[in-house]
Structures are given as structure tokens and as C-alpha cells.
Amino acid sequence: MSPPSRSRFRRANVVGFAVAAVIASARVAEVRLSALLDPDSHQKVGAFVHGLFPPDLSLSFLRVAALAAARTVSIAVVGTVLSIAVALPLGILATATLFRRGPLFESEPRTPGGMLLSSLSALARALLGLLRAVPDLVWALFFVVGVGLGPVAGVLALAVSYGGVLGRVFADLFEDVDLRPLEALHATGATRLQIFLFAIWPQARPSAVAYTLYSFECCVRAAAVLGLVGAGGIGYEIALSMRNFDYGEIVPLVGALLVLVWLTDACSAALRRVMRANAPPGLLGHEHLRQGLPRRASRAIVLGAVAAIVLACTAGVGFFDRDAFDTSTVSRMAHFARGLFPPDLTPAFLRTVLEPVVRTLGISVIGTLLGVVIGALLGIPATAAHAEDDPSRGVAWLVRLALRRLCRIALSLLRAIPEVLWVLVFILAVGLGPFAGALALGVHTGGVLGKLYADTFEEVSPLPLRGLRATGATPLQILLWGAWPEARRMLISYTMLRWEMNLRTSTVVGIAGGGGIGIALYNTMQLGFYPQMATLTLTVYLLVAATGWIGDAIRRSFAPASHNVRRGRRRPRPTTRRPRESANR
């Protein structure tokens, strides 16, 4: 077979497989287009939208919303601090170039202690993988059982799950530094922790700080959502209002959430600028700081402010309350932890696990597909590249510009409301079940992907596009023939990344009533079937790990020589710019 026909054959295979997968997913996700056209569901959604107005803007309720927002921020701050406390030691231990391979390791004598250390290092990496793969909402369920309802459970859930995310990123960053200075310090007789302090950390610091700030942004969003399972904060208030049909309270609460998210992003962007977190080495990123306050004084001020904020938040979350950690909590947690072992691995139970797993997979596929459609529909008009340097500046140009702004706003709204809240809305429309989950996932994913698509198209080099325009091509033709071939690789890799994340999220969406493995997990927890809960959690972990592997394989086959999607590395590297992690929002 000649090469072109073989590749065509392969492509036909891939397309056929994809279509079959989508049809199967649509079946298991119980997609019912009729439900969307049903006048009955229209009426329900209409009633909901109608109920949103007038919003409850009474002073007393605004105070409730503000307090809830403050609590959410506190949970996020303390959660982030604890997650760093988890991530830094585990991340250092998991750094292969310090403990497992490379010149440093090879020049050390082989001793039992060294062997133990390198196996501990491998173990730390595996542990980080586990912490990361189990979704934060599932961790929240665990801690709600363990320490009871309330913000402390939310904080611990954030600490564990974002500790896993950050720890893995840290380890990757630490491994990626220039190794030669490490060898030089090693030759002076420095210990490994000293080498870390003086050769690894200075090199990795800008990226590590940028990622930590980004992780804080994620924690704020996550803290809002964790409220839904009883961790307090905005999510809790929203769930309460939904349950009591007080739709008028939804608008101020969601408004508070949006303001909160926006403020966090602005704050972390400002902090990043001050700390020069993204300054590439060698570009004098530190120059600016030195001209300002004396270095030590400004550092002390910043440290003091951060410490005060963290302390206030810790108090606000209730960590210092006498009953937060009394002996009964510890014994309850121990009892719960013991209850999880051994996980229920009887064939009879494993058979019942199969159905929710398939359903969760279906939800994630349909949700991502819907997201791709919405993202493309809104993302293409949101691209500025083919609107901006139109020489005519006529009416058509103005319309395109206005359309671009509108689409950007719509995308950011879709994106800002978490999937779990979308589920609550879609449950009203199509009822409890996987279809509501898939719709919720799709709408949020559409917001994320649309922004990424638009950004990617805008980053395509303008020169070839100008060439095409000179031939008289229309904007759509330019997009198809100029921008698409350039951006294709990035777009596919973003979409695959998002699918992996959606798989994780679809378990979470299930917890809020979207069906699949999430609802099964929630039910076993409610009923106190802890061994089964452990099995389901392990299943989630395996599912997520498998998707990561499949996603990598697909990305590799589409983009064999891609420089930004490296094997086994889930996250794009942050370089000089703000981390391109908006894919995760």
C-alpha cells in the first residue's frame, strides 16, 4: 500500500471510530433532543429565568452574599497555603534529578539509604498522581465524612487535591532546570537540599511562583463549588437558594462569585507583575524591584501582609475553633479511614460499577463535543485577527468588531459559572440524569474552548494571512486556509486536554445530580458504604489515569513533533508569558 492511501485508510478508521464513539456516548448519556424542544421544559426554564428577576438586592441579603464570598476566599487562601505545604516537600522529594537519576545520583555511592531515598522519591511521584487524579469534590466528600460539614472540610479537600497538582508541577519544573550548576555545587560538597536551595530553586522560582498564583485562582473557583457539598461559602448559599426556590437570591450570589473571580484574577496578575514571576532569566526581571524599596524591607512588608491575611483567613475558616479538631474528630476520621479498607472488590459489586463508568465516559464525550461546537460558534467570531486591520473601516468592520466583543463577553460568562452550577440549571430543564450533566459540561467547556480557540487564532503569525488577504480572500477563507493549518495542532491539543479534564469533572457533575459515577459515589457515602466508596474512588483514579494516557496517545498521533505537548506531561510549560493554563478553567 502506498503511503498516502495508507494514511487515508487510517484517517477513515479514526473518523469511523470517532463517530461510533459519539453515537454510543449519546446513548449512554441519555441525550434526548426532544427534551430540549419540549414545551414543558421551556416553561420550567422560563419560570426559573422569570424567578431570577427581580434580584434580591436587600441590604440584609447582600450582607449574606458578601459574607459568603469572604468565607469562600478564606477557604481558598488557607487551602492554597496548605496545598503549598503538601506540594513543596513532596515535589522536592519527587524530583528525579535529585534522587533518582542524572549526574548527581550517579556520582553518589550506592548505599541502602540512597536506595531507600530513591524509592521514596518514586513513591512521592505516584502519591502526587493519586492526589491529583481524584477530583477535589470527591476529596471534599471524604473530608465531610471525616471532619464533618463546614469550611474545614473544604480547606482540607483543596489542600490535598491542589497539593497534588502543584507538587507534580513543581517536580516537573525542578527537573527542567539547567543541570550543570547543580553539578558544580555538588562538587563543592553541598548536600542535596542545599543544592536545591541554591541551584534549583533560583532557576525554577519564576515559573513556580506563577503556577502557585494560578493555582490560587483555581482554588477560589473550586472553593465556591465545594460549598455545594456542604463546605460553606458561596456554593452553599446558591445550593440553598436553589433548593428553596428563592431564585431571586441567585443573581446577587452569582454576581458576587463573578466579582470574586474577577478580583482574584486581577490581584494575582498584579502580584505576578510585582514579583516578576514571569520574567525570563537574563532579561533583568529583577531590575525594576531593586530600584524601588530596599530589597529586604519590601520583602518583609510583603511577607508580613501575606502572613496577616493568611492568619485572618485561617481564623475566619474556623481552624482555631476549639471544636474544629477535638479528639472525637480524630477518632471519627480514623474510623472512616479504617472503614475504607479493604475496598470492596467482589465481582458482584464490580459489575455494578461498570454501568456508571460507561455513563461517565459518555457524559464527558458528549459534553466535550458540545463544548467544541459552542466554542467554535462563539470563538471564531471572537477572533480579532481578521477584523482588526481591515483597511476599509466600514460598517461591516464595525459589526465584526461589535460581534467580537459580544462573543468574548458571552464566552467569559459561560466560563465563569462552574459546571456544577450549570447542572443545577439544566436539572430544571431536562430533569436529573446524565443528559443534564452533559449539557452543563458542554456549556462550560464551550466557554473555555471558545476563548482558547479565539486566542490561538489571534496568535497565528499575521504575515501569511496578509498574503491571503492580498489575493482577495474573504475573512472566512483566510481563517480556513491561513489560520487553521497553523493553529490546528494547538487546537487539537487544547481540546484533548479539556476532554481529560472533563472526564474528571463529569464525576463531579454527577455528584450534583448529573448521573454517572459521581452520583454512585455520593450515594455510597450517604449510606455509609465505605468499602464501596473506596472502590469507586479507585475507579475514578484509574479512569482519569487511563484518559491521560489515551489523550497523550491521540495528541502524539496528531502532532508527532509538537514542542508544547510532551509525552507524559499534562501541563503546557509556563515560559515567559502567563501560564497558558486557561485551558483548565
Partner: protein, 270 residues
């Protein structure tokens, strides 16, 4: 005796059984000696260098440092040995994002506890800073103390590496091709610095490409060829014939023109 090598061999593992880099190398180096190691590329100079600085272990034979067998060292002892040996590389291996002063301070890491190191990372103690500044004064870079290492030129970076060495205050200085990346004028300046440091009772071992400089600056020269010691004698006893032999083409191949001792860069056969 600082170093005592007895039939030292080094075999790097490879898919086909291993590549022999050194075989049966034996010599002593006494305290205060200045030794140059010369030889064609692939002769095993860098391997020998890494054995001497304790970042590699011999696969056969014994390497003694202060009459103690290096192979039997625990990680802690190996670290203590490295602390007593200062290293200069071909390119200075500074930490690019640290300042010149911070890079200089790094030299003393081996002598510090972890706690002291953590403290130094945030705000170095006055005494340490003074010592580091004295080291920088010795290499003439006091005014660059707050510059980042990656802003410096190659020669300045090499000088910071020497300041780091001064800070470390080792009893042995090992230099691996310290002049390879420098132009002739800088080479003289750096060579003076290194020899000046070695003049204070320290031992200096230097691998060199530059035969002329090796003969002129070092009283003792060891010639390596194919992983074996070809000669080891005072530099004034070395004849042109011995150098021709050292730099001759690989066995079985037609001989290349051997460099005269005055050639700046020896012609290398492989």
C-alpha cells in the same frame, strides 16, 4: 600524599559491554604540587578529572585521597572529600539567576549546615558576605556584586567561578580545561589567578589542551593517551619526540602531523 592512584581503571557501561576510558593508571600527587595533565581528545582526561574530584568512582584499582580508599566512602565522607577539593570547569557553571555575590557565597555551602544555608538564602550573615566580598576583590569583580550571573561575559563568569573557589578555601584545586573558552589575553589573567591561589600551599591539578602553556607553567606534566599514562615527568625533561608520540594519530591509522610545543592548539586526530 594527597592522591595515590593504583592501577585505576574506569569502564563506562554501554550496550556492547562497556567502553574503557582509563586503564591501569597509577601515580601519586603530593601536597603543594602543580601538575598538568595533557593528551589528545578521548585520552581520558575528563574521566580522570571526575575521578579526582570525587564525582565518579573507579571501576577497578584504588584511588586514595589522604590515604583513604575513595570507593569505601559513605555519602557523607564523599561529600566531605568534595568539600576539600575545589573545581573549575571549562565553562563556569554558575547558577544563572543568582547574583555574583550569591554565586560566590555558594562556594561555602559544603561547610554550612542546612539551617545556615536557608538563612543565607534569605539574608546572608555579615561575616559570610565579607568573606565573599574579599574573594570577589581578589578576582576584581567587586563592582559587579549585584549583577546576575547570566549578564556577565565568559571571562567574568570564569572569574566568579574562581571567587567561589576562594570562598570554598579547598586544599586541592582541580581545573578542567579552564582556558578553553577564553581568548589569549584572558587566559593569561586567569592562569595568573589560578597559579596565585595555588601558590599558598595548595595542590593544583589542571587538564590542558595547550601544550606550550602546560610546559611553561607546570613543573610536572602527565601525558595521557588511550586511557593510559604515556609519561609522567618534570616538564623540562619532556622532549619533542615524546609529544609527537602522545599526539600521534590513533594506532593503526596514518600518523597526523604532531604539533611542535610552540603550537597553540595541538592538532587532534580524533
Amino acid at each position: 600524599m594527597i592522591y595515590r592512584l593504583d592501577a585505576v581503571g574506569k569502564v563506562y557501561p554501554s550496550r556492547r559491554g562497556g567502553v574503557t576510558s582509563l586503564a591501569g593508571v597509577g601515580f601519586d600527587i603530593a601536597k603543594g604540587e602543580r601538575v598538568a595533565v595533557i593528551g589528545p581528545s578521548g585520552a581520558g582526561k575528563t574521566t580522570l578529572f571526575r575521578l579526582l574530584n570525587g564525582t565518579l568512582r573507579p571501576s577497578s584499582g584504588t584511588l586514595r585521597f589522604h590515604n583513604e580508599d575513595v570507593a569505601a566512602f559513605s555519602p557523607r565522607q564523599a561529600r566531605a572529600m568534595r568539600r576539600r577539593i575545589g573545581t573549575i570547569h571549562q565553562q563556569s557553571l554558575l547558577v544563572p539567576s543568582l547574583t555574583v555575590l550569591e554565586n560566590t557565597l555558594c562556594g561555602a555551602l559544603g561547610a554550612w549546615s542546612l539551617l545556615h544555608a536557608v538563612r543565607t538564602a534569605f539574608s546572608p550573615a555579615g561575616a559570610d558576605t565579607q568573606r565573599a566580598m574579599a574573594a570577589l576583590a581578589q578576582v576584581g569583580l567587586v563592582d559587579k556584586r549585584d549583577a546576575r550571573a547570566d549578564e556577565l561575559s565568559g571571562g567574568q563568569q570564569q572569574r566568579v567561578a574562581i571567587a567561589r573557589l576562594v570562598m570554598q578555601a579547598p586544599e586541592v584545586i582541580l581545573a578542567d580545561e579552564p582556558f578553553a573558552a577564553l581568548d589569549p589575553a584572558l587566559t593569561d589573567a586567569i592562569a595568573q589567578l589560578l597559579l596565585g591561589l595555588a601558590g599558598t600551599g595548595r595542590t593544583l591539578v589542571c587538564t590542558l589542551h595547550d601544550v606550550e602553556r602546560a610546559l611553561a607553567l607546570f613543573p610536572r606534566v602527565i601525558g595521557l593517551r588511550g586511557g593510559r599514562v604515556a609519561f609522567d615527568m618534570p616538564s623540562n625533561a619532556i622532549s619533542q619526540g615524546m609529544l609527537d608520540e602522545l599526539y600521534r594519530g590513533a594506532p593503526g591509522e596514518p600518523a597526523d602531523a604532531a604539533p611542535s610545543p610552540s603550537a597553540r592548539e595541538p592538532a587532534v586526530a580524533f
